[in-house]
């Protein structure tokens, strides 16, 4: 079973990421399995996906907007945001929108080209789980959360900007 970083610890990944669902009956055989489905599948087959046994998550491509699942957030245990390449920074904005504007409380997972040098900023934007690119060393990666002791901005981890905390 694949491993990922969650809440700063290396853990076994319980979830199956369904990359795409071309087969109409792709859900067969996945009963009892926790699955993360693409946004388009969720939007079209919400009922079928929700009715099965096992928990459900949704993943968004970097151009897909979190508003499209705003109503569904309480029923989603995982939302995964994809970095098609690490330099595509749109998911940082989506993460903050989910946490700060839409009040999402569940697991927010970074998937795709997720590298250790971006973990600190990702965690400040509200990601708490990281399915790293396979070549990354997870044990070393967890150290990256300590890269900076503080930041100037308001962020998900520290809602007050530094100028309000400076005393």
């Amino acid at each position: 079973m694949a491993r990922l970083i969650k809440d700063r610890a290396v853990v076994e990944d319980q979830w199956l990421l369904v990359r795409d669902a071309i087969e109409p009956n792709f859900l067969e055989g996945l009963d009892g399995q926790d699955v993360i489905v693409p946004l388009q599948v969720w939007l079209l087959q919400r009922e079928a996906v929700s009715m099965r046994k096992g928990r459900t998550g949704v993943w968004l491509q970097s151009h897909e907007l979190p508003q499209s699942i705003a109503e569904d957030l309480p029923s989603l245990a995982v939302i995964a945001l994809e970095f098609p390449i690490f330099s595509d920074g749109r998911a940082y904005t989506s993460a903050r929108e989910l946490r700060e504007n839409l009040g999402y409380k569940g697991e927010l997972r970074a998937i795709g080209d997720v590298l250790c040098d971006q973990l600190f900023y990702m965690s400040r934007c509200g990601f708490n789980a990281f399915a790293m690119r396979p070549d990354q060393n997870l044990d070393v990666a967890t150290l990256r959360f300590e890269d900076f002791k503080d930041g100037y901005q308001a962020s998900v981890d520290k809602p007050l900007p530094l100028f309000r905390r400076r005393g």
Partner: protein, 552 residues
């Protein structure tokens, strides 16, 4: 000027440790070049034509004597004994070794300097008027706001991987000296009818391949909402800016393709979610930041300085330097001195380590130990007593730093060009030098009057060629270096983009073409008319006819 507290120091120390680790992993092969690239760029490190180049931030152009001495030290110990001041009020070193960069950054941190976000697709160094705080025509000192923006933009976790680079300028004076209208965001300090301070906000300006003057998206933004509004603009840009084509990725293209009305609405919608939240700036924070930029201990003087009058009447060379290089100060008995780094034969903006140490001493002797860097690539001593101007000038003269050409034809803005930069299509420094040699006559230059010549070695426009009264752009024509000339650009309040005169010219013909252009100007100029005003009045045709010959 701003002084770091323990938070600022800690963040800088953390950053250096982080980059030391990243550099070690890159040098050992653990970190792939493509993955190291944005990390090194966000620490100012480019890999250039001949060697790496390190760009160090000079936030909004403010520099202390101590900091300038440190730059001299770096030039001597890690480079070839000189540095290059850029059009973003930064300094570049052209010859450091990659492995040395973490140590250079540690040296910089000792004097509260860094190279953070001087490159890469992130928010860059905020720029402002080089006379801020001292100018006679100022609405309000822009520097406290620049420092607030510096802190907000430094390590902003959401905006480190934008579609493209992002530049912000703040203008607090009546006469814009910061080219504010050609920035991704331009902020003009304004007062409303109630006398409250706020910002007129422009978005979507920029030079480069597609030059655009910024569009107003808000006439008055109360100052306490500065950061939430900036966050809102950046959020719209980060989400919607084009990522499919790097030449269409700047915010100017988004504003254009979205339409300014529509773009404004998107920003306002985003802003409503953030407005009045924790990002709202507090009076405590404004006061904390303003404290660092209080007036220095000015003495009380009469407006007239007999010592200065006497020197002006007896020393012609000093007098012509004074006329050109000393600007009006808000306090009687003081002047703002620009040290023009445009001596013929020296690459525009270059300064040796010896000169850096020398100027650092002068700043201590004459101007409260502080300096400014301008986007025109010059240095400024902003608070000099008029009584001491003559001795300052003599000191500058001893180091060949007394070029009396501020704002004149030979005060050329020029990028490093093909001699150093791997993006360049053509050289730019030799063009600047050839023009300076052609017009190396102080009296003639004064007669020609105020005239900006801006040279870029490629269409990325680091030399701001679009907004030069005469703009020169290096182009590649079947492997040969050619130069396209434009007329009528301006970076002042009436910002304008230049018009291309016609087919480009070979390198050796550029000085001759310049001669012809100036010849036309001199024939048509009315009284004290400036070049750009003559051009606006008579148009392109007379210039074109002289340069290319009349069409039959």
């Amino acid at each position: 000027m701003y002084q770091y507290d323990e938070y600022d120091h800690q963040m800088l120390a953390d950053r250096i440790a982080q980059f030391r680790d990243q550099t070690a992993r890159f040098l050992s092969g653990e970190l792939a070049p493509a993955e190291f690239l944005p990390l090194r760029l966000q620490n100012g490190l480019y890999v250039q034509r001949l060697a790496p180049m390190l760009r160090i931030a000079i936030p909004y152009g403010m520099l202390s004597s101590k900091q300038l001495r440190k730059l001299a030290y770096i030039a001597d110990h890690f480079d070839k004994g000189y540095g290059h001041f850029t059009t973003r009020q930064n300094i570049q070193f052209n010859w450091p070794a990659i492995a040395d960069v973490p140590d250079i950054l540690a040296h910089l941190a000792e004097v509260e300097m860094h190279a953070i976000q001087t490159s890469g697709n992130c928010i860059r160094n905020t720029t402002t008027d080089q006379f801020a705080g001292s100018a006679a025509n100022e609405i309000e000192d822009s520097r406290p706001y620049c420092e607030i923006i510096r802190q907000w933009s430094t390590f902003h976790p959401e905006f480190a991987y934008l579609p493209r680079k992002f530049k912000i300028a703040v203008c607090g004076t009546q006469d814009d000296q910061a080219a504010t209208q050609v920035h991704d965001i331009g902020l003009f300090i304004v007062r409303n009818d109630e006398g409250e301070t706020g910002f007129r906000v422009l978005a979507g300006g920029g030079l480069g391949r597609t030059p655009v003057i910024g569009k107003e998206i808000r006439a008055f933004l109360p100052k306490q909402h500065l950061l939430s509004y900036l966050d809102a603009i950046l959020r719209v840009y980060n989400r919607e800016g084009r990522r499919d084509n790097k030449y269409k990725a700047r915010i100017k293209i988004l504003v254009k393709e979205t339409g300014v009305e529509n773009f404004r609405e998107k920003v306002e919608k985003e802003w409503r979610k953030l407005k009045d939240g924790p990002l709202t700036l507090t009076d405590t924070e404004f006061q904390r930041c303003k404290r660092f930029f209080h007036d220095p201990a000015y003495k009380h003087f009469e407006p007239q300085s007999p010592a200065l009058e006497k020197a002006l009447n007896t020393d012609v060379l000093f007098s012509s330097w004074y006329e050109q290089n000393v600007s009006a100060h808000k306090k009687p008995g003081y002047g703002i001195v620009t040290i023009c780094l445009k001596k013929t034969g020296v690459a525009p903006g270059d300064l040796t380590s010896e000169q850096m140490n020398f100027v650092a001493d002068l700043a201590e002797r004459f101007s409260f130990g502080e300096l400014r860097v301008s986007h025109e690539q010059n240095l400024i001593l902003a608070d000099v007593e008029k009584d001491t101007l003559h001795s300052l000038w003599r000191a500058l003269k001893s180091q060949d730093l007394h070029a009396p050409n501020l704002g004149l034809l030979t005060d050329i803005i020029c990028c490093p060009g093909g001699d150093f930069c791997s993006l360049a299509n053509a050289k730019s420094i030799p063009i600047a030098e050839a023009i300076q040699r052609r017009f190396d006559d102080a009296e003639r230059l004064r007669q020609i009057g105020k005239l900006s010549v801006n040279i870029s070695g490629c269409m990325n426009a680091c030399g701001h060629h679009h907004v030069g009264n005469i703009g020169i752009l290096g182009v590649d024509k079947k492997g040969a270096e050619f130069y396209q000339i434009s007329l009528g650009g301006s970076a002042e309040n009436t910002t304008a983009l230049g018009d291309i005169i016609g087919p480009s010219f070979a390198q050796e013909d550029v000085p001759e073409v310049m001669d012809k252009l100036i010849g036309v100007f001199e024939r048509y100029k009315l009284a004290d008319e400036r070049f750009v005003d003559t051009y606006r009045r008579i148009g392109m045709t007379p210039f074109k006819e002289d340069v290319y010959g009349k069409a039959d």
